[in-house]
Each structure stands twice: as structure tokens, then as C-alpha cells.
């Protein structure tokens, strides 16, 4: 039985953020210790201004089976994001801000990557209050010690 998992979320699109959240929440539901690390554009998921506006990538996403040019048209990403959000609500999958708050309530650790925070010139105040700390790669490995690491 896995006892601890550390999940790295490194992209800021809907289809990159949700799987990591679902994996973390599912781990806690099974009694597995879980930490989430938000790095690079994955930081958007815990950015106060952006976490409620995470969108589906409609360009360069072959899983959508859309012609590339159609995916690039104005409004397509927003429309498909809204469509997916409706479907997810039916399955009782919460919107990202609510989901992250819930995951934090399960006792999972939420951490932001220091290099990314520096790169985007952010401060702790730019991130949602559930983020416990801004940590370095070394500190991440300390926290991940003894468990599995999943990179999404």
C-alpha cells in the first residue's frame, strides 16, 4: 500500500490541473498522505487572480479532435471550458477553487515552487491562503521523502 504521494502540477490548463487534484484528493480519501506542488504555469491553480479562470487548452490538444485552427478561434477555449464545467458539475466534480479548498481541508499539503514564484515575480500574498509555503526543490524532496512522486 502506498503511504505517501507528492504530486507536481506544472501546467496551467484545465486538463493538466484537474488530474493532479483528483489524484491528491483520491489519495487522501484512501488515507494516503498527500502533498501538492505547484510549479511553473501550474502556479495559476493557486494564484488568487487566476485560479477561477483555468481554461482548457484547445490548441495543440489532439484529444479534443478539433481542427487546430478551429481551436484557435476566439471564444472556443472559453466555450469548451464552460461545456466541460457543466459536465463536471453533473458528476459532482467541484470547480477548481472549491476543489483546492477541499483538498486543503483533507489535510493535504499545498506548496508553491520558489523558482516559479521568483520567475513570475509573485509573493505569498498573490497565492491563495491554502498554500502553506513557498519552497525550494530541495525542500520539496525533503517533504516527498519516503513516498511516491507524480509529475503531471
Amino acid at each position: 500500500m502506498i503511504e505517501k504521494v507528492s504530486i507536481i502540477i506544472s501546467k496551467g490548463s484545465l486538463e493538466a490541473v484537474y488530474p493532479g487534484l483528483i489524484m491528491a484528493n483520491g489519495a487522501r480519501a484512501e488515507g494516503i498522505e498527500a502533498n501538492l506542488f505547484f510549479t511553473f504555469f501550474g502556479l495559476d491553480a493557486v494564484h488568487r487572480k487566476h485560479h477561477d479562470h483555468i481554461r482548457l487548452a484547445t490548441v495543440g490538444n489532439p484529444g479534443l479532435h478539433l481542427p487546430t485552427l478551429a481551436g484557435a478561434l476566439p471564444g472556443v477555449s472559453a466555450a469548451m471550458t464552460a461545456y466541460l464545467a457543466k459536465k463536471m458539475a453533473k458528476l459532482d466534480i467541484p470547480p477548481i477553487p472549491e476543489f483546492i479548498e477541499m483538498i486543503s481541508d483533507t489535510g493535504a499539503g499545498l506548496y508553491a515552487c520558489k523558482a516559479s514564484v521568483d520567475l513570475f515575480e509573485l509573493a505569498k500574498d498573490d497565492l491563495i491562503e491554502q498554500v502553506q509555503d513557498i519552497i525550494t526543490v530541495g525542500e520539496f524532496y525533503d517533504k516527498a521523502d519516503g513516498g511516491q512522486i507524480v509529475f503531471t
Partner: protein, 105 residues
């Protein structure tokens, strides 16, 4: 499938310890199941969750997920994890004698 004895009565459970026949469960069995799951004492709040889970199962045929529990049981997610540290939905279902809830959220 195997058997376990709670409150002096033998019941059948699956390989994870969940009741295969929820009708065989009685409230008197709950403290012993909880003890096996690492919960030494069932408080009123534990019971609130256990009875709710049991009720949901009777109404809907399956136990609620953690998110649903947090919204409907009167006990928030944070506290659910304090009451059932090894997974509230799973443990409450086990103690309430119903099948393990299946869901990804």
C-alpha cells in the same frame, strides 16, 4: 470473502473488511469495527456521520463520497478527517456496515 465476529454475531465481509450483507449490521457492532480500524472510541460526532452514511445507503444504494459527506452530514471535510484520519468515506462506510463507496472525488 471471509467472516468476522462483531457483538457476538458472525457476519461475512469482503477481503477489505466491508460487510457483504449490510442487513446483518447492527449499531452494537460499530464500536468493534471502529476499534479494528484504529478508532478507539466513537464520539457523538462519529455516530452522526455513521448514521448519515447508513441512511444515505438505504436511500440511494451507495455510501456518500467525502465531498458529499462534507456537504450533507453536518460535519465539514476538515473535521471528517480528524474523526476518520484514514479516509472518512471509506472508514465510515466500513463502520456503518455498508459497501465501500466508489467514486473518484
Amino acid at each position: 470473502m471471509s467472516t468476522a465476529t462483531y457483538a457476538g454475531t458472525e457476519v461475512t465481509v469482503n477481503e477489505e473488511g466491508f460487510f457483504t450483507d449490510p442487513a446483518a449490521w447492527t449499531e452494537a457492532m460499530a464500536p468493534e469495527i471502529a476499534d479494528e480500524a484504529g478508532i478507539a472510541e466513537l464520539t457523538d460526532q462519529h455516530w452522526q456521520v455513521i448514521r448519515h452514511v447508513r441512511h444515505e445507503y438505504t436511500e440511494k444504494g451507495s455510501g456518500p463520497t467525502v465531498r458529499a459527506l462534507g456537504k450533507t452530514s453536518g460535519v465539514g471535510v476538515k473535521q471528517l478527517y480528524e474523526l476518520f484520519p484514514k479516509g472518512p468515506a471509506k472508514l465510515a462506510a466500513k463502520i456503518a456496515g455498508i459497501p465501500k463507496p466508489r467514486g473518484c472525488i
